[in-house]
Amino acid sequence: MSTTANNKAGFGSALWDYLTTVDHKKIAILYLVAGMFFFILGGLQAMLIRIQLISPDNEFISAQFYNEVLTMHGTTMIFLAAMPLLFALMNAVLPLQIGARDVAFPFINALGFWLFFFGGIFLNVSWFTGGAPDVGWTAYAPLSLFSEGHGVDYYAIGLQISGIGTLIGGINFIVTVVNMRAPGMTYMRMPLFTWTAFIASVLILFAFPALTVGLFLLTFDRLFGAHFFNPDMGGNVIIWEHLFWIFGHPEVYILILPAFGVFSEVIPTFAKKRLFGYSSMVFATVLIAFLGFMVWAHHMFTVGLGPIANSIFAVATMAIAVPTGIKIFNWLFTLWGGSIRMTSPMVFALGFIPTFTIGGMTGVMLASSAADYQYHDSYFVVAHFHYVIVGGVVLGIFAGLIYWWPKMFGTMLNEKLNHWFFWLFFFGFHLTFFFQHFLGLMGMPRRYWKFLPDQGLDLFNLISTIGAFFMAIGTIVFLYNVVVTQMKNVKVGPDPWDARTLEWAIASPPPFYNFKQLPLVRGLDPLWIEKMENNGRMQPAEPLGDVHMPNNSFVPFVMSLGLFIAGFGVMYQGGMWILAGIGFAITAGSLLYRSIKDDLGYHIHKEDFDKEEGDGSNG
């Protein structure tokens, strides 16, 4: 995708451009490509799982391989597909929505991507070096300590590297929103997607350090002989569960909030109404984030924390249904009486509302701690979290991708194929996961390699697998659509959807400096205000002047590569310690280089703007 747009410049220079870019729009494309790659990888793993479970007592893949595939499916989809795809949308859109020329830390933005990328690659190297992690994406101790080989070490170190990338990426977005808003863009005029991305970034900031520590403890136990999770030496396995879920539950909201944001952009645009209850939407977002930090132990109801702890966490969990309900009703009221256009992003949004509501209701069921003893670790849980993560996050990501595709690439995906994609995916999704509720209630445990015949599980498992194929075909249609659209390369105007927010006021794709003059924001949905009350163009808030831009840099790539190399040394130890030395030296050296070399960026002089006109795509 990225190269087709630039093939005039030659492949080598385009590649170098992307390796060194600090432009948020190009980093968005990097996140998109890497995220889609891992999404497809995770999808293939899901297909292997479903094929294994197509019939009872199946021998399609071995038990060990099944465990590895299952672990990597979860880990890949959460950390390496969903998060980066959301980061792709945030990078592509957030600075444009607040009228900024770039993010607050372009260099750190690039570093965040490369750390994520090398972390993801590191994790997947394990397939070729003796087996992937095989203990579930939650890696509960002591199972994760007993796991043989280096699979779990790849998990701990790989996620550590990519986690640092996510953390600094989150900080970058927070500062961007706090410091870089255009004149007139007050907090209560920010589009909902910006708001949710902002709040999700705050959650990243406070949730990821717990994972960092958990992964360090796991690494120390496995590789350096510590005893955090070894009960023989006084260790305690519950510490891992707490740390993992103190991170893990906010992580769910990190994923879902930006998806909520996408729908809060799509629905008003295609209902031709402003978002109903904007301020209550903002309030609900903040409240979800706040409550999201106090509910993690609902993943641990059966651990035996005691009735008091369980009750507190059960009540807090159920309370989250309130702000989420506010959001659902606000979307419905936005639709109410609107002049609705059934474009594909809108169809995704309409499919999302009932699907996510079902996932939310099973969530409240699971939150009831007494009943949870029955549901725990069964397919009911699997069905629940796929309803919220696929039905919420994945639908949100695709709605956002289709909606902002013209802004990212200047082309329109084929609407007919988009509708085909939606219906195949949506139908397949419900086929796959709706029946898993009943499998769970019938007692089928999750993560099992096999089930036995004649226990009433055969039919629903077969249906579930058939559904998975529909989802796969749907995704293939989408990928085909992407390829065809980019091959045809038919350019569209700046505002193909007749939308409301600031990103649609500039060219598609935007010039590398985004806004020649910062726009003056006069209210919520600023572009719509100008369309209604003016000539439909944003008024400038400043005279034409020099624009300051950051320099490209290869340092983020090198810095991340250093940690990637060092990871192998730390893991294999012995003679491989040399790799750790080399890797850490590379990272430390590039840190030092970055610190002592002045990087002031450069200026585009106002006289040069005329020459740039009409050539917005290259940076």
């Binding site: 927070i174 519950i238 510490i239 740390l243 106090m294």
Partner: protein, 107 residues
């Protein structure tokens, strides 16, 4: 031009005296922090009852941290609304984490 630099000099002097004032506060703060530290160590050395000592030294630590944040790290000056918001959010998440790991770990 000369007039201009005069105003600048006056401004400079004003800032200087204000910085000095601030510095004075910081030295007081430092003295308090040392005093708190002495009290905390003293309580433990004197082997005062643990039920009394532990809450007291935790409160002393908390106040010391507030001193650090507000005076040494200048959180009491303007433009620190967002830093304060984020530090307090961090303290909130941190408190939950410590509370959980200190109480509900199933011993």
């Amino acid at each position: 031009m000369a007039n201009h630099s005069n105003i600048n000099d006056e401004k400079r002097e004003f800032y200087k005296s204000r910085n000095k004032q601030e510095m004075k506060m910081q030295v007081y703060t430092f003295v308090m922090m040392i005093a708190f530290t002495l009290v905390a160590f003293g309580l433990v050395l004197a082997e005062v009852d643990a039920m009394f000592t532990i809450p007291i030294i935790l409160v002393l630590a908390g106040v010391q941290v507030l001193f650090q944040l507000y005076y040494f790290m200048h959180m009491n000056t303007a433009g620190h609304e967002w830093p304060a918001a984020m530090i307090y959010s961090g303290i909130f998440a941190a408190a939950l984490t410590v509370l959980a790991l200190a109480t509900i770990v199933w011993w």
